[in-house]
Subunit: 310 residues, 2 copies
Amino acid sequence: MMSADEMLQRAIAGERRWLARAITLIEHREPKIGRALVGASVRRRSTPGSPHIIGLTGPPGAGKSTFVDRIVATARADGKRVAVAAVDPSSPFTGGAILGDRIRMERHTADDGVYIRSLSSRGHLGGLSGATTEVCDLFDAAGFDLILVETVGVGQSELGVMEVADTVVVILTPESGDAVQAMKAGLLEIADVFVVNKADRDGADRLVRELSRTVKLGEDPWSAPVLSASAKENRGIDEVVSEAARHLAWCTSEGLASWTSRRGDARIRRFLDLVTSSSRRAAAAAMTDDLRGRIRSGETDPHKALEELK
Amino acid sequence: MMSADEMLQRAIAGERRWLARAITLIEHREPKIGRALVGASVRRRSTPGSPHIIGLTGPPGAGKSTFVDRIVATARADGKRVAVAAVDPSSPFTGGAILGDRIRMERHTADDGVYIRSLSSRGHLGGLSGATTEVCDLFDAAGFDLILVETVGVGQSELGVMEVADTVVVILTPESGDAVQAMKAGLLEIADVFVVNKADRDGADRLVRELSRTVKLGEDPWSAPVLSASAKENRGIDEVVSEAARHLAWCTSEGLASWTSRRGDARIRRFLDLVTSSSRRAAAAAMTDDLRGRIRSGETDPHKALEELK
Protein backbone atom coordinates (compact mmCIF):
# COMPACT_ATOMS: atom_id res chain seq x y z
CA MET A 1 0.00 0.00 0.00
CA MET A 2 1.11 3.52 -0.79
CA SER A 3 2.37 5.52 2.19
CA ALA A 4 0.58 8.68 3.28
CA ASP A 5 3.61 10.76 2.29
CA GLU A 6 3.76 9.27 -1.18
CA MET A 7 0.01 9.73 -1.69
CA LEU A 8 0.33 13.31 -0.56
CA GLN A 9 3.15 13.98 -3.02
CA ARG A 10 1.04 12.66 -5.87
CA ALA A 11 -1.97 14.66 -4.72
CA ILE A 12 0.13 17.82 -4.53
CA ALA A 13 1.54 17.13 -7.98
CA GLY A 14 -2.00 17.39 -9.27
CA GLU A 15 -3.04 13.75 -9.69
CA ARG A 16 -6.76 14.06 -9.08
CA ARG A 17 -7.24 10.47 -8.10
CA TRP A 18 -4.78 10.84 -5.24
CA LEU A 19 -6.12 14.24 -4.29
CA ALA A 20 -9.51 12.58 -3.86
CA ARG A 21 -8.05 9.75 -1.79
CA ALA A 22 -6.09 12.11 0.43
CA ILE A 23 -9.24 14.16 1.10
CA THR A 24 -11.15 11.01 2.02
CA LEU A 25 -8.45 10.17 4.57
CA ILE A 26 -8.65 13.69 5.95
CA GLU A 27 -12.44 13.38 6.20
CA HIS A 28 -11.98 10.20 8.20
CA ARG A 29 -9.51 12.07 10.42
CA GLU A 30 -6.69 9.64 9.65
CA PRO A 31 -3.79 10.98 11.71
CA LYS A 32 -1.19 9.82 9.21
CA ILE A 33 -2.42 12.09 6.43
CA GLY A 34 -2.65 14.99 8.86
CA ARG A 35 0.93 14.40 9.95
CA ALA A 36 2.12 14.05 6.35
CA LEU A 37 0.53 17.43 5.60
CA VAL A 38 2.64 19.07 8.29
CA GLY A 39 5.69 18.49 6.10
CA ALA A 40 4.07 19.90 2.97
CA SER A 41 4.75 23.44 1.84
CA VAL A 42 1.64 25.37 2.83
CA ARG A 43 1.82 29.05 1.99
CA ARG A 44 -1.24 30.29 3.77
CA ARG A 45 0.26 29.49 7.18
CA SER A 46 2.15 32.77 7.28
CA THR A 47 0.58 35.15 4.75
CA PRO A 48 -2.98 36.15 3.97
CA GLY A 49 -4.07 35.55 0.43
CA SER A 50 -1.73 33.04 -1.09
CA PRO A 51 -3.97 31.33 -1.80
CA HIS A 52 -6.98 33.47 -0.97
CA ILE A 53 -9.48 31.39 0.99
CA ILE A 54 -13.01 32.72 0.71
CA GLY A 55 -15.71 31.24 2.90
CA LEU A 56 -19.35 31.47 1.81
CA THR A 57 -22.09 30.87 4.33
CA GLY A 58 -25.73 31.69 4.94
CA PRO A 59 -29.06 30.00 5.60
CA PRO A 60 -30.26 27.05 3.48
CA GLY A 61 -31.69 28.29 0.20
CA ALA A 62 -29.80 31.60 0.18
CA GLY A 63 -28.14 30.71 -3.11
CA LYS A 64 -24.63 29.94 -1.86
CA SER A 65 -23.96 27.30 -4.49
CA THR A 66 -24.99 29.61 -7.31
CA PHE A 67 -22.48 32.16 -6.00
CA VAL A 68 -19.76 29.55 -5.81
CA ASP A 69 -20.53 28.55 -9.37
CA ARG A 70 -20.31 32.16 -10.62
CA ILE A 71 -17.19 33.03 -8.64
CA VAL A 72 -15.48 29.93 -10.03
CA ALA A 73 -16.37 31.03 -13.57
CA THR A 74 -15.04 34.56 -12.92
CA ALA A 75 -11.77 33.28 -11.45
CA ARG A 76 -11.30 30.85 -14.34
CA ALA A 77 -11.72 33.71 -16.80
CA ASP A 78 -8.78 35.34 -14.97
CA GLY A 79 -6.74 32.17 -15.39
CA LYS A 80 -6.79 31.27 -11.71
CA ARG A 81 -6.85 27.66 -10.54
CA VAL A 82 -9.76 27.18 -8.15
CA ALA A 83 -10.60 24.54 -5.57
CA VAL A 84 -13.98 24.27 -3.83
CA ALA A 85 -14.77 22.49 -0.58
CA ALA A 86 -18.54 22.31 -0.11
CA VAL A 87 -19.44 21.21 3.38
CA ASP A 88 -22.81 19.49 2.97
CA PRO A 89 -25.72 20.19 5.25
CA SER A 90 -26.48 16.56 4.63
CA SER A 91 -27.50 13.86 6.97
CA PRO A 92 -25.29 12.68 9.79
CA PHE A 93 -27.19 9.44 9.30
CA THR A 94 -27.23 8.76 5.58
CA GLY A 95 -24.56 11.08 4.21
CA GLY A 96 -27.03 12.24 1.56
CA ALA A 97 -26.17 15.21 -0.65
CA ILE A 98 -27.93 17.90 -2.62
CA LEU A 99 -28.42 16.73 -6.14
CA GLY A 100 -29.22 20.17 -7.55
CA ASP A 101 -25.91 21.70 -6.49
CA ARG A 102 -23.96 18.84 -7.92
CA ILE A 103 -25.66 19.23 -11.27
CA ARG A 104 -25.06 22.99 -11.36
CA MET A 105 -21.38 22.40 -10.70
CA GLU A 106 -21.00 19.82 -13.38
CA ARG A 107 -20.07 22.29 -16.10
CA HIS A 108 -16.79 22.85 -14.25
CA THR A 109 -15.85 19.20 -13.86
CA ALA A 110 -14.29 18.91 -17.30
CA ASP A 111 -12.06 21.90 -16.49
CA ASP A 112 -8.63 20.90 -15.22
CA GLY A 113 -8.17 24.20 -13.41
CA VAL A 114 -11.13 23.52 -11.11
CA TYR A 115 -11.41 20.94 -8.36
CA ILE A 116 -14.72 20.57 -6.52
CA ARG A 117 -15.26 18.37 -3.54
CA SER A 118 -18.20 17.85 -1.21
CA LEU A 119 -17.23 17.15 2.37
CA SER A 120 -19.75 15.33 4.46
CA SER A 121 -20.52 16.95 7.79
CA ARG A 122 -21.08 13.45 9.11
CA GLY A 123 -19.16 11.96 11.95
CA HIS A 124 -16.68 14.76 12.48
CA LEU A 125 -17.97 15.60 15.93
CA GLY A 126 -16.35 18.94 16.46
CA GLY A 127 -13.58 18.15 14.00
CA LEU A 128 -15.42 19.50 10.97
CA SER A 129 -13.43 22.74 10.98
CA GLY A 130 -10.20 20.82 11.48
CA ALA A 131 -10.92 18.56 8.52
CA THR A 132 -11.81 21.56 6.36
CA THR A 133 -8.62 23.33 7.40
CA GLU A 134 -6.54 20.33 6.38
CA VAL A 135 -8.34 20.03 3.06
CA CYS A 136 -7.53 23.72 2.45
CA ASP A 137 -3.89 23.07 3.37
CA LEU A 138 -3.87 20.30 0.81
CA PHE A 139 -5.41 22.55 -1.88
CA ASP A 140 -2.84 25.18 -0.93
CA ALA A 141 0.09 22.76 -1.24
CA ALA A 142 -1.32 21.63 -4.60
CA GLY A 143 -0.96 25.18 -5.84
CA PHE A 144 -4.56 26.37 -6.20
CA ASP A 145 -4.81 30.17 -6.35
CA LEU A 146 -8.29 30.52 -4.95
CA ILE A 147 -10.06 28.24 -2.48
CA LEU A 148 -13.78 28.52 -1.84
CA VAL A 149 -15.34 26.93 1.22
CA GLU A 150 -19.13 26.75 1.24
CA THR A 151 -21.17 25.77 4.26
CA VAL A 152 -24.69 26.26 5.56
CA GLY A 153 -24.66 29.01 8.15
CA VAL A 154 -26.62 27.31 10.88
CA GLY A 155 -25.16 25.29 13.66
CA GLN A 156 -22.00 25.71 15.58
CA SER A 157 -19.74 23.23 13.84
CA GLU A 158 -20.86 24.53 10.44
CA LEU A 159 -20.04 28.13 11.38
CA GLY A 160 -16.72 26.95 12.81
CA VAL A 161 -15.73 25.88 9.32
CA MET A 162 -15.44 29.55 8.40
CA GLU A 163 -12.40 29.85 10.68
CA VAL A 164 -10.21 28.69 7.84
CA ALA A 165 -11.20 31.58 5.55
CA ASP A 166 -9.31 34.83 5.04
CA THR A 167 -12.55 36.43 3.90
CA VAL A 168 -16.04 35.37 4.96
CA VAL A 169 -18.94 36.20 2.67
CA VAL A 170 -22.35 35.89 4.33
CA ILE A 171 -25.24 35.49 1.90
CA LEU A 172 -28.79 36.28 3.00
CA THR A 173 -32.11 36.65 1.22
CA PRO A 174 -35.04 38.96 1.97
CA GLU A 175 -37.43 36.08 2.52
CA SER A 176 -35.29 34.44 5.16
CA GLY A 177 -37.50 36.51 7.48
CA ASP A 178 -37.57 34.98 10.95
CA ALA A 179 -34.76 32.70 9.99
CA VAL A 180 -32.46 35.61 9.45
CA GLN A 181 -33.45 37.01 12.82
CA ALA A 182 -32.51 33.73 14.35
CA MET A 183 -29.13 33.54 12.77
CA LYS A 184 -28.11 37.14 12.55
CA ALA A 185 -26.15 37.12 15.75
CA GLY A 186 -23.75 34.41 14.65
CA LEU A 187 -23.46 35.46 11.05
CA LEU A 188 -22.96 39.15 11.84
CA GLU A 189 -19.91 38.38 13.89
CA ILE A 190 -18.07 36.51 11.20
CA ALA A 191 -19.04 38.44 8.04
CA ASP A 192 -16.39 40.37 6.11
CA VAL A 193 -18.77 40.92 3.19
CA PHE A 194 -22.57 40.78 3.28
CA VAL A 195 -24.59 39.92 0.21
CA VAL A 196 -28.36 40.26 0.00
CA ASN A 197 -29.18 37.82 -2.79
CA LYS A 198 -32.49 37.72 -4.70
CA ALA A 199 -32.41 41.49 -4.40
CA ASP A 200 -35.46 42.00 -6.61
CA ARG A 201 -37.74 40.49 -3.99
CA ASP A 202 -39.77 42.30 -1.34
CA GLY A 203 -37.88 43.34 1.72
CA ALA A 204 -34.43 43.34 0.09
CA ASP A 205 -33.86 47.06 0.57
CA ARG A 206 -34.96 46.89 4.15
CA LEU A 207 -32.57 44.01 4.85
CA VAL A 208 -29.70 45.94 3.22
CA ARG A 209 -30.50 48.98 5.38
CA GLU A 210 -30.76 46.89 8.54
CA LEU A 211 -27.47 45.16 7.91
CA SER A 212 -25.69 48.43 7.07
CA ARG A 213 -26.95 49.98 10.28
CA THR A 214 -25.83 46.98 12.33
CA VAL A 215 -22.38 46.95 10.72
CA LYS A 216 -21.96 50.64 11.60
CA LEU A 217 -22.83 49.94 15.22
CA GLY A 218 -20.13 47.27 15.45
CA GLU A 219 -16.61 48.05 16.56
CA ASP A 220 -14.88 45.79 14.11
CA PRO A 221 -11.77 47.44 12.60
CA TRP A 222 -13.03 46.23 9.20
CA SER A 223 -16.41 47.61 8.23
CA ALA A 224 -18.18 44.89 6.24
CA PRO A 225 -19.77 46.18 3.02
CA VAL A 226 -23.39 45.21 2.34
CA LEU A 227 -24.04 44.32 -1.32
CA SER A 228 -27.14 43.52 -3.34
CA ALA A 229 -27.06 40.73 -5.87
CA SER A 230 -29.05 38.34 -7.99
CA ALA A 231 -26.77 35.39 -8.53
CA LYS A 232 -29.21 33.64 -10.86
CA GLU A 233 -29.21 36.66 -13.18
CA ASN A 234 -25.49 37.10 -12.70
CA ARG A 235 -25.92 40.53 -11.12
CA GLY A 236 -23.61 41.66 -8.33
CA ILE A 237 -21.06 38.85 -8.67
CA ASP A 238 -18.26 41.19 -9.78
CA GLU A 239 -18.90 43.42 -6.77
CA VAL A 240 -18.60 40.43 -4.42
CA VAL A 241 -15.34 39.39 -6.07
CA SER A 242 -13.90 42.92 -5.87
CA GLU A 243 -15.02 43.48 -2.26
CA ALA A 244 -13.43 40.16 -1.30
CA ALA A 245 -10.21 41.34 -2.99
CA ARG A 246 -10.44 44.66 -1.13
CA HIS A 247 -10.81 42.78 2.16
CA LEU A 248 -7.78 40.67 1.34
CA ALA A 249 -5.75 43.81 0.58
CA TRP A 250 -6.80 45.14 3.97
CA CYS A 251 -5.66 41.88 5.63
CA THR A 252 -2.19 42.33 4.18
CA SER A 253 -1.90 45.97 5.26
CA GLU A 254 -3.57 47.75 8.21
CA GLY A 255 -5.63 44.62 8.99
CA LEU A 256 -2.62 42.34 9.38
CA ALA A 257 -2.72 42.28 13.18
CA SER A 258 -6.41 41.43 13.06
CA TRP A 259 -5.82 38.67 10.48
CA THR A 260 -2.92 37.24 12.49
CA SER A 261 -4.94 37.16 15.67
CA ARG A 262 -7.87 35.45 13.96
CA ARG A 263 -5.49 32.88 12.47
CA GLY A 264 -3.90 32.28 15.90
CA ASP A 265 -7.30 31.67 17.51
CA ALA A 266 -8.15 29.23 14.75
CA ARG A 267 -4.89 27.33 15.29
CA ILE A 268 -5.62 26.94 19.00
CA ARG A 269 -9.12 25.65 18.27
CA ARG A 270 -7.74 23.32 15.64
CA PHE A 271 -5.28 21.91 18.16
CA LEU A 272 -8.10 21.32 20.66
CA ASP A 273 -10.16 19.66 17.90
CA LEU A 274 -7.25 17.31 17.25
CA VAL A 275 -7.04 16.45 20.94
CA THR A 276 -10.77 15.79 20.86
CA SER A 277 -10.81 13.50 17.84
CA SER A 278 -7.71 11.64 18.94
CA SER A 279 -9.08 10.95 22.43
CA ARG A 280 -12.46 9.93 21.06
CA ARG A 281 -10.76 7.49 18.73
CA ALA A 282 -8.64 6.12 21.58
CA ALA A 283 -11.67 5.69 23.84
CA ALA A 284 -13.68 3.89 21.16
CA ALA A 285 -10.75 1.52 20.67
CA ALA A 286 -10.22 0.98 24.40
CA MET A 287 -13.88 0.17 25.08
CA THR A 288 -14.26 -3.54 25.85
CA ASP A 289 -17.34 -5.46 24.73
CA ASP A 290 -18.26 -5.79 28.37
CA LEU A 291 -18.05 -2.05 29.03
CA ARG A 292 -19.89 -1.28 25.78
CA GLY A 293 -22.70 -3.63 26.81
CA ARG A 294 -22.98 -2.12 30.27
CA ILE A 295 -23.12 1.44 28.85
CA ARG A 296 -25.72 0.43 26.25
CA SER A 297 -28.00 -1.20 28.81
CA GLY A 298 -27.66 1.72 31.21
CA GLU A 299 -26.09 -0.51 33.89
CA THR A 300 -22.97 1.68 33.89
CA ASP A 301 -23.51 5.42 33.62
CA PRO A 302 -21.28 7.24 31.09
CA HIS A 303 -19.66 9.27 33.90
CA LYS A 304 -18.75 6.08 35.79
CA ALA A 305 -17.51 4.51 32.56
CA LEU A 306 -15.21 7.48 32.02
CA GLU A 307 -13.65 6.94 35.44
CA GLU A 308 -13.31 3.23 34.69
CA LEU A 309 -11.43 3.97 31.49
CA LYS A 310 -8.95 6.38 33.10
CA MET B 1 -20.37 27.13 48.78
CA MET B 2 -23.14 24.62 48.26
CA SER B 3 -22.04 21.19 47.05
CA ALA B 4 -23.21 19.89 43.70
CA ASP B 5 -25.20 17.15 45.45
CA GLU B 6 -26.97 19.61 47.71
CA MET B 7 -27.74 21.93 44.80
CA LEU B 8 -29.13 19.00 42.87
CA GLN B 9 -31.37 17.96 45.74
CA ARG B 10 -32.83 21.46 45.92
CA ALA B 11 -33.27 21.59 42.16
CA ILE B 12 -35.04 18.24 42.21
CA ALA B 13 -37.25 19.40 45.07
CA GLY B 14 -38.52 22.09 42.71
CA GLU B 15 -36.59 25.18 43.81
CA ARG B 16 -36.42 27.04 40.53
CA ARG B 17 -33.42 29.10 41.44
CA TRP B 18 -31.35 25.96 42.01
CA LEU B 19 -32.80 24.26 38.95
CA ALA B 20 -31.50 27.22 36.93
CA ARG B 21 -28.06 27.07 38.56
CA ALA B 22 -27.76 23.32 38.04
CA ILE B 23 -28.61 23.72 34.34
CA THR B 24 -25.99 26.43 33.98
CA LEU B 25 -23.39 24.05 35.43
CA ILE B 26 -24.53 21.34 33.02
CA GLU B 27 -24.23 23.81 30.13
CA HIS B 28 -20.67 24.52 31.16
CA ARG B 29 -20.04 20.76 31.28
CA GLU B 30 -19.05 20.85 34.94
CA PRO B 31 -18.20 17.22 35.70
CA LYS B 32 -19.33 17.48 39.33
CA ILE B 33 -22.97 18.19 38.43
CA GLY B 34 -22.91 15.40 35.87
CA ARG B 35 -21.60 12.99 38.47
CA ALA B 36 -24.13 14.17 41.03
CA LEU B 37 -26.89 13.46 38.50
CA VAL B 38 -25.75 9.84 38.26
CA GLY B 39 -26.99 9.31 41.79
CA ALA B 40 -30.37 10.92 41.14
CA SER B 41 -33.44 8.84 40.45
CA VAL B 42 -33.98 9.14 36.72
CA ARG B 43 -36.94 7.18 35.45
CA ARG B 44 -36.41 7.49 31.74
CA ARG B 45 -33.23 5.43 31.89
CA SER B 46 -35.15 2.18 31.76
CA THR B 47 -38.65 2.87 30.46
CA PRO B 48 -39.99 4.87 27.56
CA GLY B 49 -42.40 7.60 28.48
CA SER B 50 -41.98 8.38 32.11
CA PRO B 51 -41.50 11.20 31.46
CA HIS B 52 -42.30 11.37 27.78
CA ILE B 53 -39.54 13.29 26.01
CA ILE B 54 -40.70 14.84 22.74
CA GLY B 55 -38.13 16.43 20.45
CA LEU B 56 -39.23 19.08 17.96
CA THR B 57 -36.97 19.98 15.09
CA GLY B 58 -37.10 21.46 11.60
CA PRO B 59 -35.64 24.30 9.56
CA PRO B 60 -35.47 27.86 10.90
CA GLY B 61 -38.83 29.57 10.54
CA ALA B 62 -40.87 26.35 10.45
CA GLY B 63 -42.82 27.40 13.51
CA LYS B 64 -41.27 25.08 16.09
CA SER B 65 -41.65 27.53 18.96
CA THR B 66 -45.31 28.10 18.21
CA PHE B 67 -45.82 24.33 18.42
CA VAL B 68 -43.97 24.12 21.70
CA ASP B 69 -46.14 26.92 23.04
CA ARG B 70 -49.35 25.14 21.99
CA ILE B 71 -48.29 21.70 23.19
CA VAL B 72 -47.38 23.19 26.57
CA ALA B 73 -50.84 24.75 26.80
CA THR B 74 -52.51 21.44 25.90
CA ALA B 75 -50.47 19.48 28.44
CA ARG B 76 -51.18 22.04 31.16
CA ALA B 77 -54.90 21.72 30.48
CA ASP B 78 -54.41 18.00 31.22
CA GLY B 79 -52.70 18.88 34.50
CA LYS B 80 -49.28 17.70 33.38
CA ARG B 81 -46.10 19.39 34.58
CA VAL B 82 -44.02 20.39 31.57
CA ALA B 83 -40.38 21.34 31.09
CA VAL B 84 -38.96 22.79 27.88
CA ALA B 85 -35.34 22.85 26.78
CA ALA B 86 -34.96 25.12 23.76
CA VAL B 87 -31.57 24.71 22.14
CA ASP B 88 -30.93 28.08 20.51
CA PRO B 89 -29.68 28.38 16.99
CA SER B 90 -27.86 31.35 18.43
CA SER B 91 -24.37 32.52 17.94
CA PRO B 92 -21.36 30.57 19.11
CA PHE B 93 -19.83 34.04 19.36
CA THR B 94 -22.35 36.19 21.13
CA GLY B 95 -24.80 33.75 22.64
CA GLY B 96 -27.66 35.81 21.26
CA ALA B 97 -31.21 34.51 21.38
CA ILE B 98 -34.48 34.92 19.55
CA LEU B 99 -36.49 37.62 21.17
CA GLY B 100 -39.78 36.68 19.48
CA ASP B 101 -39.78 33.15 20.87
CA ARG B 102 -39.06 34.36 24.34
CA ILE B 103 -41.98 36.75 24.21
CA ARG B 104 -44.33 34.08 22.90
CA MET B 105 -43.36 31.82 25.79
CA GLU B 106 -43.82 34.46 28.43
CA ARG B 107 -47.44 33.63 29.13
CA HIS B 108 -46.27 30.37 30.66
CA THR B 109 -43.67 31.83 32.97
CA ALA B 110 -46.12 32.67 35.73
CA ASP B 111 -47.30 29.05 35.72
CA ASP B 112 -45.60 26.92 38.35
CA GLY B 113 -46.20 23.73 36.37
CA VAL B 114 -44.07 24.91 33.45
CA TYR B 115 -40.33 25.38 33.34
CA ILE B 116 -38.75 26.81 30.19
CA ARG B 117 -35.05 27.12 29.60
CA SER B 118 -32.99 28.18 26.59
CA LEU B 119 -29.74 26.28 26.20
CA SER B 120 -27.03 28.01 24.24
CA SER B 121 -25.49 25.92 21.49
CA ARG B 122 -22.30 27.80 22.20
CA GLY B 123 -19.09 26.16 23.26
CA HIS B 124 -20.33 22.62 23.62
CA LEU B 125 -18.19 21.27 20.81
CA GLY B 126 -19.85 17.98 20.22
CA GLY B 127 -21.20 17.88 23.75
CA LEU B 128 -24.46 19.63 22.92
CA SER B 129 -26.43 16.40 22.92
CA GLY B 130 -24.73 15.31 26.15
CA ALA B 131 -25.65 18.56 27.87
CA THR B 132 -29.24 18.30 26.65
CA THR B 133 -29.44 14.71 27.86
CA GLU B 134 -28.30 15.72 31.32
CA VAL B 135 -30.75 18.61 31.43
CA CYS B 136 -33.51 16.11 30.57
CA ASP B 137 -32.28 13.79 33.32
CA LEU B 138 -32.54 16.71 35.71
CA PHE B 139 -36.09 17.54 34.55
CA ASP B 140 -36.91 13.87 34.90
CA ALA B 141 -35.55 13.67 38.45
CA ALA B 142 -37.51 16.83 39.29
CA GLY B 143 -40.70 15.01 38.38
CA PHE B 144 -41.85 16.70 35.19
CA ASP B 145 -44.36 14.59 33.24
CA LEU B 146 -43.59 15.89 29.79
CA ILE B 147 -40.28 17.24 28.48
CA LEU B 148 -40.06 19.13 25.20
CA VAL B 149 -36.73 19.62 23.48
CA GLU B 150 -36.70 22.11 20.62
CA THR B 151 -33.80 22.57 18.25
CA VAL B 152 -33.19 23.87 14.74
CA GLY B 153 -32.90 20.92 12.39
CA VAL B 154 -29.76 21.92 10.56
CA GLY B 155 -26.29 20.93 11.56
CA GLN B 156 -24.96 17.78 12.99
CA SER B 157 -24.69 18.73 16.64
CA GLU B 158 -28.19 20.24 16.55
CA LEU B 159 -29.70 17.06 15.09
CA GLY B 160 -27.74 15.01 17.62
CA VAL B 161 -29.76 16.70 20.34
CA MET B 162 -32.78 14.68 19.20
CA GLU B 163 -31.09 11.50 20.48
CA VAL B 164 -32.51 12.18 23.89
CA ALA B 165 -36.14 12.11 22.72
CA ASP B 166 -38.52 9.16 22.85
CA THR B 167 -40.51 10.75 20.03
CA VAL B 168 -39.11 13.10 17.39
CA VAL B 169 -41.54 15.50 15.68
CA VAL B 170 -40.14 17.05 12.49
CA ILE B 171 -41.85 20.27 11.43
CA LEU B 172 -41.60 21.48 7.85
CA THR B 173 -43.30 24.20 5.82
CA PRO B 174 -44.25 24.26 2.14
CA GLU B 175 -42.06 27.28 1.41
CA SER B 176 -38.92 25.66 2.80
CA GLY B 177 -38.46 24.64 -0.83
CA ASP B 178 -34.81 23.99 -1.59
CA ALA B 179 -34.00 24.10 2.07
CA VAL B 180 -36.20 21.12 2.71
CA GLN B 181 -34.53 19.29 -0.15
CA ALA B 182 -31.23 19.96 1.52
CA MET B 183 -32.24 18.69 4.86
CA LYS B 184 -34.65 15.94 4.01
CA ALA B 185 -32.09 13.21 4.26
CA GLY B 186 -31.20 13.96 7.85
CA LEU B 187 -34.67 14.85 9.04
CA LEU B 188 -36.35 11.90 7.35
CA GLU B 189 -34.18 9.46 9.23
CA ILE B 190 -35.05 10.74 12.67
CA ALA B 191 -38.74 11.65 12.32
CA ASP B 192 -41.36 9.70 14.25
CA VAL B 193 -44.06 12.23 13.36
CA PHE B 194 -44.03 14.67 10.43
CA VAL B 195 -45.92 17.93 10.53
CA VAL B 196 -46.42 20.18 7.54
CA ASN B 197 -47.08 23.53 9.20
CA LYS B 198 -48.60 26.58 7.47
CA ALA B 199 -50.73 24.06 5.61
CA ASP B 200 -52.85 26.72 3.90
CA ARG B 201 -49.93 27.83 1.76
CA ASP B 202 -49.06 26.75 -1.76
CA GLY B 203 -47.28 23.45 -2.04
CA ALA B 204 -48.44 22.07 1.31
CA ASP B 205 -50.41 19.18 -0.22
CA ARG B 206 -47.54 18.27 -2.47
CA LEU B 207 -45.11 18.21 0.48
CA VAL B 208 -47.50 15.99 2.45
CA ARG B 209 -47.75 13.59 -0.50
CA GLU B 210 -43.98 13.55 -1.02
CA LEU B 211 -43.30 12.85 2.63
CA SER B 212 -45.95 10.12 2.81
CA ARG B 213 -44.47 8.43 -0.23
CA THR B 214 -40.95 8.61 1.22
CA VAL B 215 -42.08 7.22 4.57
CA LYS B 216 -43.70 4.27 2.79
CA LEU B 217 -40.48 3.52 0.94
CA GLY B 218 -38.54 3.36 4.22
CA GLU B 219 -38.05 0.13 6.11
CA ASP B 220 -38.50 1.61 9.54
CA PRO B 221 -40.61 -0.64 11.80
CA TRP B 222 -42.54 2.51 12.80
CA SER B 223 -44.25 4.24 9.92
CA ALA B 224 -44.16 7.98 10.67
CA PRO B 225 -47.53 9.70 10.14
CA VAL B 226 -47.56 12.90 8.08
CA LEU B 227 -49.85 15.58 9.50
CA SER B 228 -51.01 18.99 8.29
CA ALA B 229 -51.24 21.87 10.71
CA SER B 230 -51.42 25.58 11.20
CA ALA B 231 -49.96 26.24 14.59
CA LYS B 232 -50.75 29.94 14.51
CA GLU B 233 -54.46 29.17 14.00
CA ASN B 234 -54.25 26.35 16.51
CA ARG B 235 -55.18 23.74 13.87
CA GLY B 236 -53.61 20.29 13.97
CA ILE B 237 -52.06 20.57 17.42
CA ASP B 238 -54.32 17.89 18.96
CA GLU B 239 -53.37 15.49 16.16
CA VAL B 240 -49.67 16.02 16.85
CA VAL B 241 -50.21 15.40 20.55
CA SER B 242 -52.22 12.23 19.91
CA GLU B 243 -49.79 10.87 17.30
CA ALA B 244 -46.91 11.47 19.72
CA ALA B 245 -48.87 9.52 22.33
CA ARG B 246 -49.51 6.73 19.82
CA HIS B 247 -45.78 6.57 19.08
CA LEU B 248 -45.02 6.35 22.78
CA ALA B 249 -47.52 3.49 23.16
CA TRP B 250 -45.73 1.73 20.31
CA CYS B 251 -42.36 2.23 22.06
CA THR B 252 -43.68 0.46 25.15
CA SER B 253 -45.10 -2.48 23.19
CA GLU B 254 -43.98 -3.89 19.83
CA GLY B 255 -41.46 -1.06 19.39
CA LEU B 256 -39.65 -1.74 22.66
CA ALA B 257 -36.63 -3.43 21.06
CA SER B 258 -36.30 -0.52 18.64
CA TRP B 259 -36.57 2.03 21.47
CA THR B 260 -34.04 0.12 23.59
CA SER B 261 -31.56 -0.05 20.74
CA ARG B 262 -31.90 3.67 20.00
CA ARG B 263 -31.39 4.45 23.68
CA GLY B 264 -28.30 2.20 23.77
CA ASP B 265 -26.75 3.96 20.77
CA ALA B 266 -27.40 7.31 22.41
CA ARG B 267 -25.70 6.16 25.62
CA ILE B 268 -22.57 5.10 23.72
CA ARG B 269 -22.43 8.43 21.92
CA ARG B 270 -22.97 10.26 25.18
CA PHE B 271 -20.08 8.38 26.72
CA LEU B 272 -17.82 9.33 23.80
CA ASP B 273 -18.97 12.96 24.11
CA LEU B 274 -17.95 12.89 27.75
CA VAL B 275 -14.53 11.53 26.80
CA THR B 276 -14.26 14.32 24.28
CA SER B 277 -15.18 17.19 26.55
CA SER B 278 -13.07 15.87 29.39
CA SER B 279 -9.95 15.49 27.24
CA ARG B 280 -10.45 18.92 25.67
CA ARG B 281 -10.70 20.45 29.09
CA ALA B 282 -7.57 18.59 30.23
CA ALA B 283 -5.61 19.68 27.16
CA ALA B 284 -6.61 23.33 27.54
CA ALA B 285 -5.43 23.17 31.15
CA ALA B 286 -2.18 21.40 30.28
CA MET B 287 -1.22 23.85 27.53
CA THR B 288 1.68 26.00 28.71
CA ASP B 289 1.96 29.67 27.66
CA ASP B 290 4.98 28.70 25.60
CA LEU B 291 3.12 25.97 23.71
CA ARG B 292 0.08 28.20 23.25
CA GLY B 293 2.27 30.91 21.77
CA ARG B 294 3.97 28.50 19.39
CA ILE B 295 0.64 27.09 18.20
CA ARG B 296 -0.82 30.56 17.72
CA SER B 297 2.13 31.78 15.66
CA GLY B 298 2.17 28.63 13.56
CA GLU B 299 5.70 27.73 14.73
CA THR B 300 4.41 24.43 16.12
CA ASP B 301 1.84 22.58 14.04
CA PRO B 302 -1.20 21.28 15.96
CA HIS B 303 -0.25 17.68 15.11
CA LYS B 304 3.25 18.15 16.55
CA ALA B 305 1.76 19.90 19.57
CA LEU B 306 -0.46 16.89 20.18
CA GLU B 307 2.57 14.60 20.26
CA GLU B 308 4.33 17.03 22.57
CA LEU B 309 1.43 16.94 25.00
CA LYS B 310 1.25 13.15 25.15
